[in-house]
Amino acid sequence: MQDDAAQKQTLLGADELVLNMGPQHPSTHGVLRVKLKLDGERVRGTECVIGYLHRGVEKIAENRTYQQFAPYVDRMDYVAAVSNGLGYCEAVEKLLNVEAPPRAKVIRTIMTELQRIASHLVWLGTHALDIGALTPLFYCMREREEILKIFEKYCGARLTTHAFRIGGLQYEAYDSFEKDVERFCKDFERRIQEYVDLLTGNSIWIGRTRNVGVLNAADCIALGASGPILRASGVKWDLRKAQPYAAYDQYKFEIPVGTNGDTYDRYMVRMEEMRQSRLICLQAIENIPAGPILGKVGKVLKPPAGEIYHSIEAPKGILGYYIVSDGTTQPYRVHIRPPSFVNLQALDKMARGHLVADVVAIIGTLDIVLGEVDR
């Protein structure tokens, strides 16, 4: 797209006006620059300029051993670090065709589901703040604090946890782990009702989100959008059910699906997902099987030459790992398919024809994290 800086900016002339929602704009969830082509107040087209947070993670992976690269994975989607770690560890285990012990699988599932709730809480707080509701943010952060305490007690870190190891877990679950998770889940039921009271029935909230950023199923599939965005458009596709991994096949939970794929449906889908995750955690902590927490994996990992692609259902969507190994201790190539990067493609189609205020709501509902987009 050629840069139309020479555009004549007339308030009255009403031909195209390029407005920069710059990298430091308060509501672009990190360093994303959106060039909005405006006709008066209506958006004619958007163009995302990304790369401000590019750290070259995939190049670094080529001269790190498999264990050394694990902490880098948490820095990509820093809001849902645990699920990144799970995806990477399972990918390498698949490469080594080693199976994590059942106890490790169950604890991994519990931690990932807690991380999904935490990630959705961050999304809900910032999304509501962008649309003007000041209070939900603090309620969500209060609940997220509980989850982060559990992570801290388990592996010492809150945000970039590096909780899992290739082949299983590093740390045994601390003794009051089950009690903490149960107390959180019991309390979370009442908390979700607080968000519902604040937002779901609120006519201004519905006014701002109903029929905003509509993406029908065909467009979703065409643009490769995944996760809550795909499910809100009516496509019932969730890797936890479609390609079960870790211990998801042992638990019963539904996949919430929306109807007309607008921001309100995506809000309802994510709220329902939080409830489902809570149910999974409750079922999981009833019987965490005893046994070892680390599979038969040597100190030095030399996976056989070859390549694999393994994807999991991260809170934002399908998170895929494509690893090519050349038999040495360091991977030949690691490519990561981040859900936020792919979902961001849908921004242009969603925002077209809406007002500037809606673009902010649409960026919120896409739930993108720039660490993941730029890698």
């Binding site: 308060p26 000041l134 309620y139 205020a357």
Partner: protein, 452 residues
Amino acid sequence: MSPTLHAVIAFLQTWWVELVSGVVIVAVVPLITGYMVLMERKLMADMQARLGPMRVGPHGLLQPIADAVKLLIKEDIIPDDADKMVFWLAPVVSMTAALTAMAGIAFGPAFEVARDINVGLLFIVGVSSLGLFGIVLGGWASNSHYSIMGALRSTAQLVSYETAAGLALVSGLLMAGTLNIRAIVDAQYSSGVWFGFLTPVAFFIYAVASIAETNRAPFDLPEAESELVAGYMTEYSGFRWACYFLGEYANMIVVGAVATTLFLGGWLRPFPRVHWLNWLDAVPALFTAAVGVYCALRAGKQPVRVQVWFMWAVALACFAVALILAVPLAVAPLKFMVPGLNGAFWFLLKITGYIYLFMWLRFTLPRYRFDQLMHLGWYILIPLAIVNVLAVGVAMILEMEYGWNRWLALIVTTILTLATALFLLRLNDKRAAAATSAVPPEGPATEDSYAG
């Protein structure tokens, strides 16, 4: 002594009350605004499961002074090719408009600056609408693209909601029959009931319109942080920004005062003419005494010694005020002071309640989009206000000519207005639904997504 000196002394003798209260307004209002900001931050914190400013003074009570000093010391940045004169003038206009409007308010039967000019209420509404210039010129002078858009938006919002507020006031004034503030409150005293209960629809419309007029809560679009950074206030910093802020909060007081005077019975105590409720006169003294006792109890628990003293000082101040309010009740010769002091207490209590509602809405409701905001203003509020004026007029005629009971007439007409309101809302929903379906989303028909 020269004649001019005589003239000046004569002038001072006749007008010293007005001059003193004028000076009091200009000096005290910034302090009140500071503490309103603190009250808002504390309330917001309380509703959001956190503590709010706690660091400066006990429970953050000295925070406004710290804010004021900070704003005074802050560097005053003027954008390079901004229009110097207009850039300086805009915040001043916005602040003076709000402060002059306060001159018309009667904070109690005795405390009034502009000795009841017979266009009292209109004066307040008229002068406070001049604040609009502060916003427009501010947006224009800092010639950055964002602030011009913010200024244009807030002007459109102010102009359209002023119409709705004006019409709502008209239906209130129909009941009162006069514009003079003292006469309005006397009319409510003689009718024994507040006009807010007689014309509830007008009160509701005025409440909503006044929120929009002060750019607050669900209508705070101009400084919607998420979209246009800070609207017309983007380029302002330091003291100039404080002027804008002072103007906004003073405007809130003005709007609250107008609503209280016209709809909540000004300085009348609730149920003013019900004699067996006369013990309500003691409530002001008891209320302040209760606050004093609370502060005294809490003083012991303060961690830092200076905070203990401060809490004791606040407790003593409350007890002093309680004493001032109680003594005239008991001592016979001081009886004449009772209506003045109690009136002021009730007036301030009602304004605080009204502003508490403003703040409450700000913490809970998300923000309207600009077209929804204008849609609400023009398609729903203004027609409803017009219908309400007609309805109240009809009610007045029914009551005077045909001798209906006043309450019956007003209930009938309020139901009539609400019926039209429902009709309006249904009409709008149908139209809105038609509008969205009519606009074909530019979906795959025009452009194949696979093409990317």
